[in-house]
């Protein structure tokens, strides 16, 4: 389970809406269970079907979080017209076992969010574990 302030959830939803139909992306920084802030990242693909982080921004985000005693805990991206589930492309590219992957879906009038961990213990094997999001405040 991760605890995410409502302000952070509101921010990532607002970010997703502001870019739709293009996919939004970002990080949530915090500690292992308590998230603190949303970091907007550029979707260099600028696409409604795909997102990619800019490695330069990734390194900046890592260092920014480290400077405040935080770590990057969650990778966020939006699915403007599909559900908040991991797509085949997500599973293919989500290779960091330390990260939680949160998807915000704008498919319905009320946005939905789901989070997962993705483990690949050996080639061809994928272990997907849902992560409960507790919205605080």
């Amino acid at each position: 389970m991760i605890r995410v302030p409502k302000t952070v959830v509101d921010e990532l939803i607002a970010h997703a809406r502001s870019l739709a139909p293009v996919e939004s992306c970002g990080y949530i920084a915090g500690s292992s269970t308590q998230m603190t802030r949303y970091i907007v990242m550029t979707n260099v693909d600028n696409s409604p079907d795909h997102f990619s982080f800019d490695p330069k921004e990734q390194f900046q985000a890592v260092k920014s979080a480290r400077s405040t005693g935080e770590t990057l805990q969650v990778v966020v991206h939006s699915h403007p017209v599909t559900p908040a589930r991991l797509s085949a492309e997500d599973i293919r590219l989500f290779n960091d076992p330390q990260m939680i992957y949160l998807i915000v879906s704008l498919k319905d009038t009320i946005p939905t969010t789901n989070a997962f961990r993705v483990f690949k213990p050996e080639p061809g094997v994928v272990d997907i574990q849902p992560v409960v999001i507790q919205v605080m405040g």
């Binding site: 982080f53 490695p55 590219l93 960091d96």
Partner: protein, 69 residues
Amino acid sequence: MEITINGDKATVDGVKISVSDLLKARNVDMPDMVSVEVNGTILERSEFDSTQVGDGDEVEFLYFMGGGR
């Protein structure tokens, strides 16, 4: 030699080590999916074999992040 890896000091055997070998030593499973920065400069993946790091160098690595609907 002592290298700073992702903000933490780490002792690594030898005088120099290639970025490729360093990633292996750090048990990075998918080095093709990793971005590496050495002393503030982001490397091309084609430079992982040829780039050597040594005492006092600062290395950052993280997984490329992308996905799709």
